[in-house]
Amino acid sequence: MPKHIVRLITLLVVAVILAIVARFYLVPHSYYRYGNYRGNAVAEIARDPPLYKGSRSCASCHRRIFNQWSASAHRVQCEDCHGPSGDHPGMDAPPLPINPDTHQLLMQERYRIATGRMQMPTNTAHLCLQCHASIAGRPATQPQVIASVHAGTQQCAACHDVHSPKIVFPAVPQVASMGSAASGRAASAACAACHGATGISVSPMWPNLAGQQRAYVVRALESYRTGKRKAAPMNMMAAALSDTQIANLAAYFSSLTAGRAAVQVQARRNVPAGVRLVSAKACATCHGPNGSSSNPVVPNLAGQKQAYLVSALDAYRSGSRPEALMSRVARGLTDGDVRRLSLYYSKLQCADAACKEAR
């Protein structure tokens, strides 16, 4: 073989050997262990410490709050509002003190030493509205509010306990502008022509007002006054009212109980289609299981005039009565649904004591 060919082949062989050696050192040894990737990467990725520990991990120290939360319907997790626990309560924190005299001091010290501090949210409204603001897309089963209508600028925590937010309503602090029922009575002469002297309306087209929720009456009159809600006579009547007069009228009508007798003379009638609908459309979430709402801004429906309920639902459906949540609910109703629901609520009696109390 000619000398130059031998040299060429030798060079080639050396180059190949060098390539193999270089590859051996450059490719990580775990590379083909499980496939065409670096096998060690799997354990490296799995090594990161978790940041969120889950609500259960809070229970060992914060037992009282944890029990209160887990007994409530609130399913939002601790770390949703308080932030990830991370290193909380801190790896180098001393063991829990057992001496009750020194407990407080030690807890402060422990807290100071703890590397991870939890958030104590001050703007609770911001947190609550993350889930409870009424926006398009939220399922109807999720309790939702329009903050400006529901609470104005008040923080949610003013009425609700954030850990178990369901309210027992008599405990709610009364707002300042309660209005005076006596002054409202004097001003109600003009209303009586249509809505009746006892708040039981003279025409099936006009709503009963006796025992209606106070805040709802205020809201209704305000939206008539601004023209947001349209009904020719009511717009005209409400235009002349001041805020104080509205508050007085609302106080008066909500205090009326004469209506209850009229409601109760209605024969008890079972409306099974209505019962099914009420549960399917989640009406009771806001309007209460007996058509007697537990929220002051949501109207009572039990014993309301059927024709009025039909026209109200139609107005929500067509959008002529603008109210985001009700429009959404009402658009899911057929003509038949509207008839059955209004019949159901108009025939509903105040059966239990709580309902009677509310009316």
């Binding site: 050696v21 670096r38 990725i45 969120y52 993350q130 398009a136 897309g137 999720q142 959404r328």
Partner: protein, 279 residues
């Protein structure tokens, strides 16, 4: 004299180099064909990755999303970003939530997603909830609207893994598609290849980022962060090998769908309650 000495020294130097290279080759050959090296490069009998208390051959993870339950609170997005140090802007997400809204009798939905910055209002002052969906359809008639949580589908046949030129992304034996960020060269082929838009490029680190189903959590017996914090129970995660796990129950009790089944990717995220328009 001065001309001769360097020539001899050069030859010496070359000889020493050749000897060293030959010795290295010999050593390499020994290791290459020696017993221990052989085992290390043969996938079949390789020991599982060194994760304490965890054997990846015993699990088969899957994810379920019940879109009918999602309330669009974006707790999951916030938790994911915290847990995985995802950049806190509106362009980088490992998981995100889309809102589909049918307006004014239209057949085609308007989709609010992370790709449209207006769709998410941000409140930078709030570290817990940096994002929220605005109520942006005030005057319009919303015929139907719903939220769809999205994340990497951890496909059984992942196109992103196929296109990676350096083997920096792969599917583990327990069914999770991961990225070896030490090995990623930042070419972004995988970002383009993913039919679900589940991968984002982290410009600061120069590597691609994606959902790992919180691999560092699930290998320690925890749930992924988004599942842990979901207040509505819209996200379900578990082991298909365990018939009583959340996901096994979810798949038994629901009629599920996957996204873009026509792509042949065989996703492992199963959806309930999504519309025909959800892709």
């Amino acid at each position: 004299m001065t001309e001769k000495t360097p020539a001899v020294e050069r030859r010496k130097v070359l000889r020493v180099i050749a000897g060293a290279v030959a010795a290295a080759c010999g050593a390499t050959a020994l290791r290459l064909f020696g017993g221990s090296a052989k085992a290390a490069i043969r996938p079949a009998d390789a020991p599982p990755p060194a994760i304490p208390g965890y054997d990846w051959t015993k699990h088969r993870w899957a994810f379920g999303v019940d879109a009918t339950r999602c309330i669009g609170c974006l707790s999951c997005v916030a938790a994911c970003k915290n847990e995985n140090s995802v950049p806190r802007d509106t362009h980088h997400f490992r998981t995100w939530v889309e809102r589909y809204a049918y307006l004014n009798g239209s057949d085609e939905p308007v989709v609010d997603s992370q790709s449209e910055p207006d769709a998410l209002s941000t409140s930078p002052g709030n570290p817990t909830y940096p994002y929220r969906f605005p109520d942006r359809y005030g005057d319009q008639v919303v015929d139907k609207a719903f939220f769809v949580p999205k994340l990497c589908n951890h496909c059984s046949n992942p196109p992103c893994v196929q296109v990676c030129p350096v083997g920096a992304t792969f599917r583990t034996k327990d069914g999770v598609v991961l990225i070896d960020q030490d090995y990623c060269i930042g070419c972004r082929y995988c970002v383009q290849a993913c039919p679900y838009g589940a991968r984002t490029f982290n410009e600061a680190m120069g590597v691609t980022d994606k959902c790992t189903w919180c691999y560092h959590r699930i290998t320690k017996g925890l749930k992924p962060a988004c599942v842990e914090v979901c207040p509505a129970g819209a996200r379900v995660f578990g082991d298909l090998n365990d018939p009583q796990s959340d996901i096994s129950v979810f798949l038994r009790e629901n009629r599920v769908n996957v996204l873009k089944p026509e792509m042949g990717t065989h996703p492992n995220v199963y959806y309930v309650g999504i519309d025909r328009s959800v892709r």
